[in-house]
C-alpha cells in the first residue's frame, strides 16, 4: 500500500470505467500517438480516500472521490500546460487498487451514485457536459441533435433534457432509439431507414435546422451534421475521428461554428455534479466486470 506524501492522498479504487478511447490506446491506435507500454491504463475511476497526507485540508478518510481526465485542468479555459497531463495516457491511470493522487487532482462524487456509476463521470459525462456548456451554451427550448447512442451521446441527451432543450437523437437501432426516448430525448430519427436524415431534422425544426448538433461519429456523418444545423448554429465535435475530410466551404456556406470539445475542468465537473444530483441522472452502464476480468472489458 503506497504512502501519500505531503499534499497527497491515498485512494482505494472501487470501480473504473473503460471508454472507447481506452480500447484504442490498448490497440495501439490512440488518436494522439502511442502510449508507453508500462503506463497504467484508464482515466476514469472512483474510490474512497483512505489516507490523507500532511498539509491536506480538503479531504478526509472516507470521502468518495473520482479521478480526473486532465488532473492539472482545475478551472478556466484549456491550455497546453493544463492538457499535458492525461490520466492513463501521459501519466499513469486508475486500473489499480490503490492510487496516490495530489490533493487537487480528485473531485468529490455525488452521494446517490454507485461506484460503478461514478466511475463513468471523469471523461464521458464531463465531455457531454462541456459540449452543452461552452461559450454558446444550450438554452432551454433550443433543439439539440445528438448523433448515436454511445457513452457521450447518451449523457448529452440526458443533460440536454435536464437543461430544458429539445433532444433529437439519431441511431440505426430502433431499440437504442427507444431507450434514448426514455432517457429524455424528445424525438428519434433512425438514420438506417433514412440516410438523408438531415431532412428529418429540418422538418422537426421549422426548416431552420437544429441550434446545436453533437457529432460523435466522424467523417461519414460530418456533412449531414452540418446540413442539420441552423445558420449561426453550433456543431460540437467529440471523439477520436481519424482522416475526417470536411468540406470547408460547407462550413462557410452554413455559417456555423465547428467546435472541437475537450473533456473539461474540475470546476466544470463540480457544476456537472450539481446538475446530476438535482436531476438524479443515472449513467447508462453497458456491462460490469470484476477486477480480474479487466482484460475482457477492453474486448
Amino acid at each position: 500500500m503506497p504512502v501519500p506524501q505531503r499534499g497527497q492522498v491515498l485512494v482505494r479504487m472501487m470501480a473504473v470505467s473503460v471508454n472507447f478511447r481506452d480500447t484504442l490506446i490498448a490497440a495501439g491506435k490512440n488518436f494522439r500517438g502511442a502510449v508507453p507500454e508500462d503506463t497504467i491504463p484508464l482515466s476514469d475511476g472512483a474510490g474512497v480516500v483512505e489516507v490523507v497526507g500532511d498539509g491536506v485540508s480538503a479531504w478526509r478518510p472516507g470521502d468518495r472521490v473520482s479521478s480526473t481526465f486532465m488532473p492539472r485542468w482545475l478551472a478556466g479555459g484549456i491550455t497546453r500546460e493544463k492538457a499535458a497531463s492525461v490520466t492513463g495516457t501521459t501519466i499513469d491511470g486508475v486500473l489499480t487498487q490503490w492510487k496516490v493522487f495530489n490533493a487537487d487532482e480528485i473531485v468529490r462524487i455525488p452521494d446517490y451514485l454507485s461506484w460503478e456509476e461514478a466511475a463513468t463521470l471523469p471523461c464521458t459525462a464531463l465531455t457531454a457536459w462541456s459540449v452543452l456548456n461552452g461559450p454558446v451554451p444550450v438554452r432551454a427550448g433550443e433543439s439539440v441533435v445528438v448523433l448515436g447512442t454511445g457513452g457521450v451521446a447518451l449523457f448529452t441527451a440526458q443533460f440536454a433534457s435536464a437543461m430544458g432543450a429539445r433532444v433529437i437523437i439519431t441511431s440505426s437501432s430502433q431499440s437504442k432509439l427507444e431507450r434514448a426516448l426514455t432517457l429524455g430525448a424528445t424525438d428519434a430519427i433512425n438514420y438506417a431507414d433514412n440516410p438523408r436524415w438531415h431532412e428529418s431534422v429540418l422538418k422537426l425544426t421549422d426548416s431552420n435546422g437544429a441550434d446545436h448538433v453533437v457529432e460523435t461519429h466522424g467523417p461519414a456523418t460530418f456533412e449531414t451534421s452540418i446540413a442539420s444545423c441552423r445558420m449561426g448554429g453550433q456543431v460540437h465535435v467529440v471523439g477520436t475521428q481519424r482522416n475526417a475530410q470536411i468540406d470547408g466551404s460547407a462550413i462557410l456556406r452554413a455559417r456555423i461554428c465547428l467546435r472541437s470539445v475537450t473533456v473539461g475542468s474540475h470546476e466544470a465537473y463540480y457544476q456537472m455534479n450539481c446538475c446530476l444530483t438535482q436531476h438524479q441522472i443515472r449513467p447508462v452502464i453497458d456491462r460490469t466486470f470484476a477486477f480480474e476480468e479487466a482484460q475482457d472489458a477492453f474486448a
Copy 2:
C-alpha cells in the same frame, strides 16, 4: 375599424392582461412618472391579425400575435432609444378591440395557449425569462431563490425549473407555496414563520447561498435577499419598488452583482416561446373578466 397603412397590420384584440404595474398607473403611482390621462391603458394583449397593410410580408390574416412591452426593442441590448416606447405608458396600450401595429411591433404566440394565457406573456413572462437569461444565465443544477408568488415570480419558478435549476420559493402563504411546488419549485420557505429565512437558504445550499436570487418584493427584503446569495452570485431585481434604501456595503461585502432587469426584446420573446412550447408551460391566471368589466380588473 381602423385601416392599417403601409407597413402596418390591424389586430383584433382577443384578450388583455392587467399587471400590478397597470394598477399603479391607473392610481397615478407609476414608478416612472404619471401617464397622460387619455393614454389607452395596458401593455399586454393577444389577438388575431385581421388586415395586413401594403409592404408587409411577415404576417397574414389569422396569425395569432401579441403586443410587446417595448415595441422598438427588437433584439440586442436595451438602449434609451429602444426603451422610449412603452405600450400603455408612453404610447397607447391594448385595452381596445381593434389595434393597428407596425408590422415589427408584434410577436407570434404559441399555438397551445389560449388568448387569455397568451395575453400574460409580453411583460410578465418575458421579464421572468430575462431574469434567468441575462449576461450570467442560470445553469442547470444551480439554485434560484424566488421571492413571492406574484406573476413574475411564478413564471420565474416555471422557467427556472424548465432550465434544470433548483427552485427555492418563498411566500408567507402555505397554500401559495404548495401551488408553487406543483409548478416546478423544488423547495419552499414560509417567511412568515421564518423571518430569518436566508438561514434556510444557506442550509439548503451547503452554507454557500443561492447562485441566483430573484427579488420582486422591494425594500423590506433586500438585505435578506443579499444574505441569501452566494459570493459571486446574482441578485436580479424586478418591479416597481420605491424608496428602497440598500446598504451598499452589504452588496460590496457579499461580492454580488445586483441587476435591474428590464422586460426584454422581441428576439428574447421568440426564444422564450420556444421554451414555453417545449415544456407546454401554462401561465397561472388569477381571474378573468369580460371586456365590459375591465375597470373591475384594476381593483
Copy 3:
C-alpha cells in the same frame, strides 16, 4: 427621382464600394449561387438623406448614412430570416444615384469619414469587427494572426490593434507587410519566404500558437492556419472560399473552434462606429473611380 413611401427615406448615394465578392457576382461565380441579371449591383455605399417619408422619426434630410449588407439583420444573432435579404444579391444594390430605403435599413456613418471611406464600412469593415467581437471576443493582450492584406484583413488588423491585441500579419509582399505595420500590426511574417510560417507564429507566441487566427485566404492555408492556433483558440473564417477540403481530424486534434463569420447586425455596426470614431481609424482605399467608370472598378 423616386419618392419614398410611408416608413421610407430617399438617399442620394455619394460613393459606393466594390468588394472582391462583387467581382465574383459580376463574373457569375458567386459563392451562394447566381444573381439575377437585372439586379442592381453592390452592397456597400454611403449617401445623404434627401427626403423622409411619412411616419419616419429617426432620420432628417442631410443625415449621412450607409446601406447595410443584410438590411433585415437589425440586432441579435443571425437567423435564416435575417440573412434572406442581401443588398446587391437577393435585393437591389446601391450602384445607383438615388435609392429608397426602409427607414430601419440604413445606419448613420461617422462624421470624420469621407463618402468614399464610409462606403467601405457595410460589408468589409463590419465583417472584420464581427470576427473580433464574436462569442469569444479578442481580449487586450491576446495575439491575433491575420492572413493577408485584403480589405477584411486590414480592417481586422486595425480593429485588433485598437482593441489592444498583438497583431501578427502575414503576406507574400514585403511592402504590404510594411504598410500593415503602420496600421497597427505588431509583427509581420512573409509567407513567401517562409511556407512553414506557422512555426514563426509559434516562435512569437511562446510555442503556444495564437489566440485567434483570421483566415481570409482559403483552402491552401487552412492547415497552416490551424497549426498556428493555440489549443482552445479560435480560427475565424471569412470569405468566398470554394472547394476547401479541411482535415477534420486536424481541427479535433488542435482542439480549436472553427467559426464561419457573417457580416453583422446594424447594432454591431453602431458599436463598430464607436470604435472607429474613438480611434479615428481610416479605411485603406485602393483606387477611386468616377460613377461613369463603374465598370472599370470590377476589373
Copy 4:
C-alpha cells in the same frame, strides 16, 4: 532562512506594496473585520525564487514571481472556498524577506517591470483588470468613467485605454487629471468645480451616459455614479466603503447592473500580464521606502 517542503518554493521578497486597504487593517478598521495581531501584513509583493522543493516542476531558482491576493483562487469564478485565504489577512502576508509559498500560489511577473512596479500588481492592478473584464467586458469604443486617481483608478484608466475604450476620468485635482490624461484617459472632469459632474458625462456621451462606471469612492458618489451610467450599463464597485446607503430605486430606475468586483484569479493575472507586456504599461508609484522604513509607508 526557511526550507520549502514538497510542493513549495522559497522566495526572496524584493519589494512589497502598501495599499489603502493595508492601512485600514493596520488601523484596526478592516472592512471585513479585525486581523489577528501577529499576522504578517501586506498582500502584494514581488521576489525571486531561491529554492524549489521536491515535486515542483513549474519553477526554477531565479524565476521572478509575485504573491497573489487570494492564493487559492487559481482560475474560474470566485467561491467562498477560494476567497477564504487572503494574503496578509487570513494568512500571513509578504512584509518579510523570505517567504515560503505553495508552488501554485505565485504568479510569474513581466520581465520589463522593476520589483517595485511588479509589487503593485497582485491586488491593485488585478482588481482594475477584473473591473474591465467581467461578464460584460468593456469593448473598444465604449466609454468608461473612472472615479478618482487612486491606485485601482489609474490602472483602470491605463487598461481601459489599452482596450480601446474612451476613458473619462474624474478628480478634484487638476494636476492629477492632467497626469491621468498622459496615462491614456481621453476626457477629464474636475468634480470639485462641478458637483453635478454626471451632467458632464451625459454631455460627453450624447446624453446616453457611460457604458461603464468604475466607482472607487464610496457612499458620497454612488448616486452621481449611477446617474452617469447609461441604461443597461454597468457600475463596477471596488473598495472598502462602509455605511454606503444606496437608493435602490435609483438602481432600478436606471436599469443598470451594480457589480461588486473582487480582485481576480491567477489565470486572470496571467491574462493581465499579457496586456501589460503588450502595452508596456508602467504602474504609477507614489513613493518608495526602504525595508527599515516599512512603518512609515503605512502612515
